[in-house]
Amino acid sequence: MSRSVWKGPFVDAYVLKKAESSKSGGRNDVIKIWSRRSTILPQFVGLTFGVYNGKKHVPVNVTEEMIGQKFGEYSPTRTYYGHAADKKAKRK
């Protein structure tokens, strides 16, 4: 069963607090969070969170397409490296 709409999206309170202070401070730091269950809200767009995966904080640069997803979806707990071959990375 999905979450009731009247409750609104779930976000851990400390995530909101940290995001707000980072935004108001205008700092360009990675906001370290452990809450993988928190929903990504529109006010997080443009911020970079370090989402804990059980070992380290994975940088997650929040964009508009990510709104409504959970932070944990972008910080896998298992890493597969594979071969580089012709894979590309884009600097944004």
């Binding site: 700092r27 640069n61 594979g82 071969h83 580089a84 071959a85 012709d86 884009k90 600097r91």
Partner: protein
């Protein structure tokens, strides 16, 4: 044609497919079928395959016909062999786009010239590319977002990356 050191691994052979000399080909490319564009492919022992034609797909691999492999026995004998392409065969990329193969191994310096480590891997979990940097004398790695703010300069000709990492990362 000689085999140069400037090669990147693009796939491997996984044995025969059927009895007519077709092979199961594991491609490591972003688009698996692109492996055929990077011919000639070479092996560790210096064998060169000039023509690779993709003819289908099997479970977890492509099915291909490779010039020089004509029988099932030859294809089976090549099981596990890695295939390499010349780096120069990869197409040029626009600004701010880089091949993982070019970034891996590059030293990462901070804006003051202090060495932070070298790139061990390039990751992407759906929220932008990330450089995994292994610091000298450290066993654990640091994940650095591959953004213009955090990585202002990538100098492939000089072989270095200048980073301005967010506070508290290193």
């Amino acid at each position: 044609m000689t085999v140069s050191d400037n090669r990147i691994i693009v796939g491997s052979l996984a044995g025969a497919f059927g009895v007519k000399g077709e092979v199961r080909l594991k491609s490591f490319c972003a688009k698996p079928e692109d492996i055929a564009l990077y011919t000639p492919l070479t092996t560790d022992d210096g064998r060169i395959f000039r023509v690779v034609v993709i003819i289908g797909q099997a479970a977890g691999a492509l099915v291909a016909r490779i010039e020089g492999i004509d029988t099932k026995e030859e294809a089976d004998a090549m099981r596990g062999v890695s295939l390499y392409a010349e780096r120069a065969r990869l197409p040029h990329l626009p600004d701010d786009e880089y091949y993982h193969a070019d970034l891996i191994g590059l030293p990462v310096l901070d804006t003051g010239g202090r060495e932070l480590g070298h790139v061990r891997a390039v990751l992407n979990h759906g929220a932008g590319d990330i450089l995994e940097v292994l610091a000298p004398d450290a066993s654990d790695t640091v994940l650095l977002p591959f953004t213009l703010a955090a990585v202002p300069t990538v100098d492939l000709s000089a072989g270095r990356i200048i980073a301005d990492p967010p506070e508290g990362l290193f």
